[in-house]
């Protein structure tokens, strides 16, 4: 019978610069109530030898798995298959964990009578360019969603049925703790061979969950502007966004998700598509616009209707955006100067 509470799965690919700090933060936790699974995803630098070194030094804590390069999603799935603690979470190998994480999580969970399916933590962002530590992207939204009151120990469980705004939280997999039983019950897994692999599980797991908890006194440190991030890519990696969103929409339509949940899929899709269009480079822009057009045409009209009725932040701009993308002039939307003129005109009309 395993006594440890939580397993932290760390997929690693060519991170010799940061992996020591990452594993150290897991080894030197203030409370030792956890397991670590390091998954080497076919690294070509010193990452595998560093991982083996730690696994040999802390055999009861760290399990080391090596595979040929199959991508982040596959690495995490392999880690999930080897978990035998009641909870699991993930950590990217270029980030690192708060040293009180396991202690605080243990203190939280042992006082609950109902097992949460997912627990949201609150990471911090370390900007390597400026040296500043800033708040996580959705801190304000998350705090109001869970009405988290640190003084009283009364975690307020939420579910998407009660408040679909939970879908608007960041899809990041590393800031969630998942119940292993829940993961196995719903066949939770990451899509393999694509980037943006946490978007689809975000929607699926939230749709299927009954109890969502929040623990905002701890969270990992997310490193940005180090020069090695996936989210900084401007080329072919952006094209994966189209297939990922397509998969989400397909599942929702096939399984008959209610329109209000579809509305939040549209909300995320529009936000992320705009983001990709904004940064994608000249080589892939036209292909991305064509793909966006095809994607938009697949979304049920009822989802759009629900979206514009409930959670659209800029109704006018977005309706116009969709009209343009559905028109034969959709490629113009890819030009940043066109988009700037559009916002300018709309702001003038507002007055």
């Amino acid at each position: 019978m395993m006594n440890e509470l939580i397993t932290i799965i760390v997929p690693a690919y060519n991170v010799e610069k940061y992996i020591r700090q990452c594993i150290d933060s897991l080894v030197f936790q203030s409370l030792s109530n956890h397991k670590v699974i390091l998954v080497n995803d076919g690294s070509t630098d010193n990452t595998p030898s560093i991982c083996e070194e730690y696994a040999a030094k802390y055999p009861s804590l760290i399990q080391y798995i090596s595979q040929e390069n199959r991508g982040l999603g596959a690495a995490r799935n392999v880690g999930i298959a080897h978990v035998n603690t009641p909870y699991l979470t993930f950590l990217d190998s270029d980030d690192f964990q708060d040293i009180h994480f396991v202690e605080i999580v243990t203190g939280y969970i042992e006082k609950l009578d109902v097992t949460p399916d997912i627990v949201f933590t609150m990471p911090s962002i370390y900007d390597q360019a400026t040296g500043r530590v800033v708040e996580w992207y959705d801190k304000a939204d998350a705090t109001s969603l869970f009405k988290y009151d640190e003084e009283a120990f009364a975690p307020r469980f939420v579910s998407v049925l009660e408040n679909p705004w939970v879908y608007s939280l960041e899809p990041n997999a590393n800031r969630r703790i998942l119940s292993t039983e829940f993961v196995k019950r719903i066949n939770f897994s990451f899509p393999e061979g694509v980037k943006w692999e946490d978007i689809e599980p975000h929607f699926y797991s939230l749709h299927m969950a009954n109890n969502l908890g929040a623990l905002f006194t701890t969270g990992f440190y997310y490193r940005i502007n180090s020069g090695s991030q996936i989210t900084a890519g401007t080329g072919v990696t952006r094209m994966d966004m189209l297939s990922v969103l397509d998969a989400v929409i397909s599942r929702a339509t096939l399984d008959n998700w209610p329109d209000i949940e579809g509305a939040f899929i549209v909300r995320l899709a529009i936000k992320y598509l705009n983001w990709c269009i904004d940064v994608i480079n000249n080589d892939y822009r036209d292909a991305f616009m064509t793909g966006t057009r095809a994607l938009i045409q697949k979304v049920p009209k009822s989802y759009f209707a629900a979206y514009f009725n409930t959670c659209s932040p800029h109704k006018r701009t977005e309706k116009l955006m969709l009209k343009i993308i559905k028109s034969p002039f959709y490629k113009m939307y890819g030009d940043y100067r066109f988009r700037e003129r559009l916002t300018h005109i709309i702001n003038r009309l507002r007055k």
């Binding site: 933060s25 690192f96 360019a129 040296g131 500043r132 401007t234 480079n281 000249n282 080589d283």
Partner: protein, 475 residues
């Protein structure tokens, strides 16, 4: 979680520290530090006028946090403790009293005011290997000075390429060495100069060990600057032309602006000094919003490619910016080699800060300068843009390509306005081709009209029609 907690969280080997505060209202900081890190002993020194009785102090961690009213109460602990933390809003100068304890690590928070974190850093860098100071500001985001190093590190290298500048060298060196910092080096690159420039440098080097001389065969300004970069050790790199001179505070101000907030490029303004008349003319430039408060958005940094004059000697560049992006001077260019360097650095930089002062003096109207060229020498622009087409346009970032297009247009108009009439036709033909390579006609027209105005847009049309007379007439 703030930067201080972040560092302590990473460094679990730190189990004791001294915390200096000047205000009991901030006493919760002590408890936050203990909760967020693995510190087992925190000695808090709060030296202020109103002292509440010890029993009123928060006692969440009774054995971990110990309170003192002044530094005299714990001399042995201070001498042994390697980490000093501070949160001083009212009296930041109080931290200077702790110099005598020579901490290895210094981390703290101050309020923006007369004493800057740079000043504190300068004093402590002789003892410490890690300094992190956050400055809270009233009107903008806080900035963090983060520094790892040792007292022998060179923070700034200034590179001076020399060729036939002996007449003006004394004036230049005098203005440079007035700033007495021991963490800069001045690298004079003798590009096979036939005059006695190197003797002047060696004479100064006898009294000032920051002055270094490199001799090389004549290869042009670009090769001299590149040689200087390769031999330099500073974390920041600056350039000065040895026939100019500076306000002695220039590099101090630029380095301070760059370090507080970790900016990749820091720049200021320059004045023109007319050697024949002795007149000073300020060269007004883009030193205001959003750059003077510090710009973190690469899209705004890129705009400086066409909204700011080309003048690399009033800028300092972080060494990692140049190395990580493989930026070098193109040694095949005989002149104006600073233009591609400026474009490439601003194209790659994310963070930049402007110091709104005019601190460099650019000597003009002296015989033999390239800047007064009006003949075939101007054709070097096409070689420059051939290089930039590869390095910048290959990034496939449309915003960046548009910035390059605007820069090209401005450069060609400048050249056409001064070129000798018999060469204008040939120049304008090449200019047309060059502009066509980075953007189609209508897009470029709208771009120029929006960013530079209708008058310039008309010049663009004239240029594309081959009408150099129009461009020369309407300056």
């Amino acid at each position: 979680m703030d930067e201080l907690a972040f560092y302590l969280n990473q460094h679990i080997e730190i189990d004791e520290a001294v915390l200096v505060i000047d205000n009991f209202a901030n006493s919760s900081i002590a408890n936050n530090i203990v909760i967020q890190s693995s510190i087992k002993h925190l000695y808090v020194v709060c030296d202020c006028d109103e002292q509440p009785p010890k029993s009123d102090l928060p006692t969440f961690h009774k054995d971990v946090v110990m309170w003192y009213n002044s530094a005299q109460e714990l001399p042995e602990k201070l001498n042994n403790c390697k980490t000093i933390l501070f949160n001083l809003e009212r009296h930041p100068e109080a931290i200077l009293d702790y110099l005598q304890y020579r901490p290895e690590r210094l981390l703290g928070v101050i309020q923006e005011g007369a004493l800057s974190s740079f000043y504190i850093w300068e004093k402590f860098r002789q003892f410490s290997s890690y300094i992190q100071i956050r400055t809270n500001c009233n009107d903008k985001e806080p900035k963090v000075l983060t520094w790892t190093g040792s007292k022998t590190d060179i923070e700034l290298s200034v590179i001076l390429p020399m060729y036939n500048v002996a007449e003006y060298l004394e004036c230049c060196i005098q203005s440079l060495v007035k700033w007495k910092a021991n963490y800069v080096e001045f690298i004079f690159v003798n590009d096979g100069s036939p005059d006695n420039s190197r003797d002047i440098v060696l004479k100064w080097a006898e009294h000032d060990n920051r002055i270094k001389l490199i001799d090389k065969e004549n290869g042009g300004c670009a090769s001299a600057r590149q040689a200087g970069i390769e031999q330099s050790k500073g974390k920041y790199i600056g350039f000065v032309d040895p026939d100019d001179f500076i306000d002695p505070n220039m590099f101090l101000e630029l380095l301070r602006a760059a370090l507080i907030g970790n900016y990749e490029i820091a720049y200021c303004g320059y004045n023109e000094y007319y050697n024949d008349t002795g007149n000073f003319v300020r060269a007004y430039d883009n030193l205001g919003w959003p750059y003077d408060k510090g710009c973190l958005d690469p899209r705004w940094t890129q705009k400086l490619i066409y909204t700011c004059r080309v003048a690399i000697w009033r800028e300092i560049f972080k060494r990692t910016l140049i190395e990580n992006n493989n930026i070098h001077f193109y040694t095949d260019l005989k002149r104006f080699d600073d233009l591609p360097f400026k474009v490439e650095t601003f194209a790659s930089a994310r963070t930049v800060i402007a110091v709104n002062k005019y601190m460099y003096y650019y000597r003009l109207a002296r015989p033999g300068q390239d800047v007064s060229a009006d003949d075939e020498r101007l054709f070097v622009h096409f070689d420059i843009f051939k290089h930039l087409n590869v390095s910048v346009a290959s990034k496939k970032d449309q915003r960046l390509i548009d910035c390059l297009q605007l820069c090209k247009f401005a450069t060609h108009v400048y050249a056409l306005q001064r070129i000798k009439p018999n060469l204008a036709k040939s120049y304008i033909t090449q200019a047309k081709e060059d502009l066509e390579s980075t953007g189609p006609f209508f897009r470029t027209y709208r771009l120029i009209k929006q960013e530079l105005g209708k008058a310039k847009a008309r010049k663009y049309v004239a240029l594309m029609l081959g009408n150099f007379v129009y461009i020369k007439r309407h300056v």
